[in-house]
Amino acid sequence: MKSYRYAVIGNSAAAVNACDAIRSLDGEGSLAVFSEERYRCYSRPLISYLVAGEVSAHGMYYRPARYYQNMGIDFHAGVKVTSLDPAGHLLVTREGEKVKWRKLLLATGFRPFIPPIEGLEEVDYLTFVDWDDAKRMLRLTAKPVASLVIGAGLIGMKAAEALHARGSAVTVVEKMERVLPLALDERASAMVSERCRRENIGIITGQSVSRLEPRGGHRGKAVLEDGSEVPFDLLVVAVGVRPRVELAEEAGLECAGGVLVDKHQRTSHEDVFAAGDAVKAMDLVRGEPAVNALWPIAALQGKYAGMNMAGREVPYPGGNSMNAVEFFGLPVLSAGVVNPPDATYEVITRQGDDGDYRKVVLRGDVLVGMLVAGNIERAGILTSLIQERANVRRVKGFLLEEGFGHIHFPRSVREERIIEAVAGLPKPAGEKAGAGKGKARADRGKGRAR
């Protein structure tokens, strides 16, 4: 029976970042990755770029070809783990192979949610979450087709954009009143919708699909709530994703709408860790655990899970919802609360003449959310203030200004953040008695201090 010090189930952002973290602390311990897919680690969010022709197949890979070899990882590609025995420190594969481990990471990710729509089962619909989906979409759009996308969340909108790039006539149907209802606020949604409509992407909101009438293969017709009909040659279902918790649940690990973990990404069994889209971990803004199925969050959780698995006890700093998107030349970034639920939040917005839009959401003196569209430069400063739960009372008036930055922080805060090493540096030549401009110039480039 094979036996590993570390076993990782999954092969995406959380898994790979966990492997990196483990190897940064333990170069020797045996490490295995079990991946249901045959691909070596690739970036799922790039599938829309692949379909649109913006990324080559080679560009999909998140790590170099020799990654597993270089890192000393036993890579089990195309091997699905079907059951776990935490007490016995055992996992079993679909082929019935039993493998021992000492520390385990569950990075099982999400699965697309398939809504119960009448007639859906008789249509060869697509989801749009992995490389195989992208390959199918590429094949099916070799000739221009009429596509229908159900769901205007991130996955649906990225699918619509990719289909549009393939010359497809696209219609998107969304049950909520607007596109990207979770990632964006009303105004930003309208900005994105407008760009899409300008590109002849049909956007139908506030309507759900009542039933589907299959016409063989991928073709069919959707009948909407109001009775209107949308025929399609290709259907994409993108109404949401759900954490893949089956393996954890069947193994008796605590789950509640996601695998539950403590601050060290440890599940209810001390040798089993979990990270990524299947996991409910601390959300800094909500102040309670939440599933944030986002690549950067998965990567961060994986990193912390890996460190803890390798014996360095470091708490996960927590995450928050965030999104970076661009549709037809309009970039939009958001983080934290963008749609405040009640009047206890303060909202400040600014709409520039050139179509720029900025918004911050505060609760008391704490910044809890931001959204910028158009001019997105330096928005990360706002994100960091959200994550630091910083008191922004003194800079509130500047938050939405173009030049907002560290200059507006109190000097002590600024220095702590930026100028870590200023103390003890020599004064510049220009300040020494009698030294003129020439002297300063002669000293140019000699400012290397130790």
Binding site: Y49, Y61, A324, I376, I418, I419, A421, R448
Partner: protein
């Protein structure tokens, strides 16, 4: 590991650092051509200014770099030899996630034909980075740790 440290008490907000950064990252590395004839690269250093206070800021090459963890494509990485946070434009897809998470606002949109970002690379071809070498007041200094 080298870092560039700003000293606001000596910065006069002249923005020569921004200009020389652009020149250094241009195709010709010639100031006139870079600004007048070629595609002007994005500046990788930014002078922040408010009243009489100013300083220049570029990538901090953070030890716990949020941009590396957040990068969707694997384009943002740690250079093992120098310790610097380096960005591979070939692998960048311009998703802007790094811009969303950089606490210093030190990453900018760049590129024309392809969407990519640009950030401070510590001028690997130079003994001293262009912004430091061309600051008239030593308001930017190199610190070696």
């Amino acid at each position: 590991m080298i870092r560039i440290v700003p000293r606001e008490e000596y910065c006069i907000g002249c923005r020569l650092c921004e200009i020389h950064c652009i020149v250094q990252h241009s195709k010709s590395k010639n100031i006139i051509k870079a600004f007048k004839r070629e595609r002007r690269p994005v500046k990788r250093v930014e002078v922040e200014e408010h009243g009489h206070v100013s300083f220049a800021l570029q990538c901090r090459h953070c030890e716990e770099a949020p941009c590396i963890t957040a990068c969707l494509s694997g384009a943002m990485q740690r250079d093992r030899a120098s310790g610097a946070v380096v960005h591979d434009p070939e692998r960048c897809v311009g998703c802007w996630t790094c811009i969303l998470v950089c606490p210093y606002g030190a990453i900018r949109r760049d590129g024309e034909e392809r969407r990519v970002v640009g950030k401070c690379d510590l001028c690997p071809d130079l003994e001293v980075p262009a912004c430091v070498a061309n600051c008239p007041n030593e308001a930017l200094v190199l610190v070696e740790e």
